[in-house]
């Protein structure tokens, strides 16, 4: 089976300096073994992956995600639930919806393989965090669990608010187990309806120690309530972090022209077509992943633009203001000159 082994060997990232990373360190596309499957609820499947040759995996920041193949050319991103420290396995929890997640639920079996890429860090902990307030809605519990585990490993404190529908509380037992460890500084608060969630959010945001950072992942309604409550509680935006897994609905937008600076190539982007699709159709190579303005993969440098309409949820307010980058999959504009 040597041929198989060589074709599944981890691809070393093309970096000039890889430092003291161990031989298993790889972030590129590669195949991992499925070593564990566990049904957490009737719709959530927990998947554990390991290196085929038993090597340790690349470490990751808490809140990172893994990109996995999801059938028929689809690739989905799932938050890793571990703390990221020297991992022997990667674990993700997949909520069954349509498309890629249903394919994973159907297809995965212990002993099989799955193509992955990453981990990638888009939702890390702040370095100056004195305490963490972690807010999870539904399957948004996965990065929250990662942050809570990292806090426990570092001996730090965290307050977790988990909002879920009764009977659909994936990983609630894991959170309780973390909170129940001797000396643990993790506290878990549960909410099982919208009103309870709002009341808990308001109460918790009003009473966190100085220097706390808050992190939330969940459906957009929860995230809106969270941002609103944080602002009312006087939290500066620099302390309020969130990760979305559902992108907002977008209108088709007006047609516009984009120019590739290096070649002078003009690409017309009609209404209803994204800048990304326009560029790909014109043969301009652009990396992309979610096509929803969420993952940050298709960030393109902008040299000049008559107008930019940022519709992603990746760029910060300052980054939008500067106009130096655009997320090609969702954002639009007028006469955009791309620094490509």
């Amino acid at each position: 089976m040597s041929a198989v082994v060589s074709s599944t060997a981890p691809v070393q990232r093309a970096e000039a300096y890889v430092g003291h990373q161990h031989p298993g360190y790889a972030l590129g596309r590669r195949r991992l073994h499925v070593v564990g499957l566990e049904r957490l609820t009737d719709r959530v499947l927990h998947v554990e992956l390991a290196d085929p040759s038993g090597r340790p995996l690349a470490a990751f920041q808490p809140g990172s995600h893994l990109v996995v193949e999801a059938g028929e050319g689809r690739r989905n991103a799932y938050s890793l639930t571990g703390d990221g420290f020297n991992p022997a396995t990667y674990a993700i929890s997949v909520l069954r919806l349509d498309g890629g997640s249903a394919w994973l639920h159907r297809t995965l079996e212990v002993g099989g393989e799955l193509e992955v890429e990453g981990p990638r860090s888009m939702f890390p902990a702040a370095h100056d965090q004195q305490h963490a307030l972690l807010v999870a809605g539904g399957i948004g519990v996965t990065p929250v669990l990662s942050h809570a585990r990292a806090a426990v490993r570092a001996g730090r404190s965290a307050t977790v608010l988990y909002s879920y529908r009764p009977g659909h509380a994936a990983h609630l037992d894991d959170l309780h187990e973390l909170a129940g460890r001797p000396g643990s500084r993790v506290r878990v608060v549960e909410a099982t309806d919208v009103k309870q969630t709002r009341v808990s959010l308001t109460g918790l945001l009003a009473d966190q120690p100085f220097g706390t950072h808050a992190y939330a992942c969940g459906p957009s309604g929860l995230l809106e309530a969270y941002e609103e409550a944080a602002e009312l509680a006087g939290w500066p935006a620099s302390r309020v972090h969130l990760e979305r897994f559902v992108a907002p609905e977008l209108d088709p937008g007006d047609p516009f022209t984009a120019t590739v600076a290096s070649t002078g190539r003009r690409v017309e982007v009609p209404s209803g077509t994204s800048l990304l699709e326009g560029l790909l159709a014109a043969g301009v190579p652009v990396g992309y992943l979610c096509k929803q303005g969420v993952c940050g993969e298709c960030r393109l440098p902008v040299r000049a633009a008559a107008a930019l309409d940022h519709r992603d949820v990746v760029l910060t307010a300052e980054e939008r203001q500067s106009g130096a980058h655009v997320m090609a999959c969702v954002s639009r504009g007028r006469d955009i000159e791309l620094d490509l």
Binding site: Q129, Q208, P209, T212, G234, W235
Partner: protein
């Protein structure tokens, strides 16, 4: 044969001073805060009057705590300050007034406890005294000196040149041996 005229001229890289830019008037109270902590340091009348006017505005808007400390280096005063920070909740805005030494040291302590710049406002009533960080023994000296001047280190006794660089994290001006290299 080229004439030797002495040691080659010292090459000085371009200097980029980083000096604190203190406001000329006390900054206003940030009304987006849901509580306020007003710190009057050093016991001077100027500091007390600024603290009083902040207190009046802040207390009318949100719960406000006043901390009056004579000396940030005094262990008891420092413990008081840490106690105030420990009781503060995120959403608080901190207003600090006093002499430059006390304000810089207090701001450094607040940053070490996780404060963000948007949560801090400060007013310096007196710039005579600087906190001077010795790059050799790492102690901080309260010295009456201008950036560029010299001060004696209280830790190791070296004569220090005070550089035009204030380090926010240390709450002090960086300084190094002014006599280094001299025989």
């Amino acid at each position: 044969m080229a004439e030797v005229t002495g040691a080659p001229a010292e090459v000085v890289p371009p200097q980029h001073p980083s000096l604190p830019a203190w406001p000329t008037e006390p900054p206003s109270v940030d009304q987006t805060g849901t509580s306020h902590l007003v710190l009057a340091l050093g016991g001077g009348e100027d500091a007390a009057s600024t603290a009083r006017s902040w207190l009046a505005v802040a207390a009318a808007q949100a719960p406000t705590t006043l901390g009056v400390l004579d000396d940030v280096d005094d262990p008891e005063d420092r413990a008081t300050l840490l106690g105030l920070v420990d009781r503060a909740r995120t959403g608080v805005r901190v207003l600090v007034v006093g002499g430059q030494y006390d304000v810089m040291q207090a701001l450094a302590l607040l940053r070490a406890r996780g404060a963000h710049e948007s949560e801090l406002r400060a007013f310096v009533t007196d710039r005579r005294e600087l906190p001077v960080f010795c790059g050799h023994c790492q102690s901080v000296t309260r010295a009456v000196v201008e950036p560029g001047g010299e001060a004696d280190c209280r830790g190791c006794g070296r004569v220090l040149e005070v550089h035009e660089h204030a380090a926010a994290t240390l709450g002090a001006f960086l300084a190094s041996d002014a006599r280094a290299g001299a025989s």
